[in-house]
């Protein structure tokens, strides 16, 4: 078996096999660390009926917004879709799109559980609120908890500052956010990076996402913030 080449020549090539109805995790938060090149490539590819898992639902055409504008999304799991998510909000108000609202820390933790081989865990977050609806409740050592299930995807789209050719990643400042955990929680993780550096040039102490979690690497072509 030849050593697998993880580097793709374009965002379009990196997403070329994504089918309709795929479940995709999108990194990014607060405008930083969004995989905008991959999202745009997915919009060009035109697949439909996607299920997306993301903190928010884009701002106007930006971030994941373009996928809603193009009506490529059937279902969303998010913590804060956002008032700027114009196309999502229109389709949500029209009853055209499914939404599961999840507390932000639980959104992270459910993906972390998936990546860590944990199928479900008890959580104190959302007890006694709408979030608990339909979930098993259990009292442990005198406190109430609800059962939360692991959450993973077919693909993760993430953004990092640098990758080596193996897929070791470092992130920049608060652009780290959801990206490392999503890399662990998808069958295929695709990263867009500012820069691809030689293997061995990243400090092993500084690597945040080891290469084992990364399947495809592509150089970002601008679109750092949109």
């Amino acid at each position: 078996m030849a050593h697998k080449n993880k580097i793709y020549q374009s965002p379009d090539a990196a997403v070329a096999d994504i089918p309709d109805r795929a479940t995709i995790l999108f990194g990014g938060f607060g405008g930083a660390g969004f995989p905008n090149n991959l999202i745009q490539a997915l919009a060009r590819r035109g697949v439909r009926q996607l299920k997306i898992i993301s903190n928010n639902c884009g701002t106007g055409d930006g971030e994941a917004g373009i996928l809603f504008k193009n009506r490529q999304v059937r279902s969303v799991i998010a913590a804060f879709p956002g008032p700027g998510a114009k196309y999502f909000q229109e389709q949500f108000d029209a009853g055209e799109i499914e939404l599961e609202l999840v507390p932000q820390g639980i959104l992270c933790e459910r993906m972390r559980a998936f990546g860590a081989g944990i199928p479900a865990f008890y959580s104190p977050v959302g007890v006694g609120t709408e979030v608990a609806r339909g979930k098993e409740e259990r009292t442990i050592r005198g406190r109430r908890y609800i059962l939360e299930e692991a959450l993973g995807g077919d693909f993760a789209f993430i953004r990092a500052q640098q990758a080596d050719a193996l897929g070791n990643l470092v992130f920049r400042k608060a652009a780290r956010n959801f990206n490392p955990v999503m890399a662990t929680a998808a069958k295929t993780t695709i990263v867009e990076v500012e820069e691809i550096v030689p293997v061995g040039s990243l400090d092993p102490e500084r690597i945040v996402t080891p290469s084992i979690f990364v399947d495809r690497i592509v150089r970002a072509q601008g679109l750092r913030y949109v």
Partner: protein
């Protein structure tokens, strides 16, 4: 009730007095977002942000913004010495795991048991959004809510039972409003301070649950 109440800035200034030197603190949206500006110069607070920052400093100066260094509202910020970056997962290990000393959130309603509703107005259009508020509310060692004492229609926001969708149950320790500082205790709501010019009885009238108080209640401490 045309007497002047505290401004949002004055609520923030009063809340800033609750932050001891060296505390690890998360501030939510709305009035809480005004508080950092009122922390005295001789007090160092390590502000936590869900974007993966501990030791967040003031907003970046114009021309010095870095859009990879932002708060949860996309505002470019700065770091103070000793700050650290981490992932969103670890940001919420800190919230849910009980590691933050004090969190201050905005509120729509607070019940006498300390239930908080702050993420959605019933009947509002759109999907709403929970963000990090639920994680923060259940995990904070001490949760302070800052808000106006009454809604725009004059109805009390401090109530016996919240009618709005809950953020978390039995989580609030203290409410700081434009009229009072109120602690949530096992015996109910304890009135600690009142706004200058207001009596405990006037505050009670504008509150939807019984307030406990005895003797003279001090005025809300405000820096000039």
């Amino acid at each position: 009730m045309s007497k002047p109440r505290l401004t949002r800035e004055q609520i923030a200034a009063r809340a800033a007095l609750e932050l001891p030197d060296g505390a690890y603190v998360n501030l939510g949206w709305g009035i809480p977002n005004l508080i950092a500006a009122y922390v005295p110069a001789d007090v160092t607070i390590y502000f936590h942000c869900e974007t993966g920052i501990l030791g967040m400093g003031p907003r970046a100066k114009p021309g010095e913004e870095d859009f990879d260094l932002v708060d949860a509202m996309k505002v470019p910020v700065t770091l103070i010495p000793g700050a650290a970056y981490f992932s969103q997962v670890d940001a919420h290990v800190m919230t849910r795991g009980g590691h933050l000393d004090i969190c201050i959130l905005g509120g729509l309603q607070v019940s006498e048991k300390g239930d908080l509703a702050n993420w959605r107005v019933p009947g509002a259009r759109g999907a709403g959004g929970i963000g990090g508020a639920m994680d923060i509310s259940v995990g904070a060692q001490r949760l302070i809510v800052t808000m106006e004492h009454t809604a725009k229609d004059g109805s009390p926001k401090i109530v016996q039972t919240c009618s709005y969708p809950l953020t978390a149950i039995e989580c609030v320790n203290t409410v700081i409003t434009d009229l009072a500082v109120i602690d949530v205790t096992p015996e109910g709501l304890a009135l600690r301070e009142v706004a200058p010019g207001f009596t405990p009885e006037e505050v009670q009238t504008l509150t939807g649950a019984p307030l406990h108080y005895r003797g003279s209640i001090p005025s809300m401490a405000l820096r000039t």
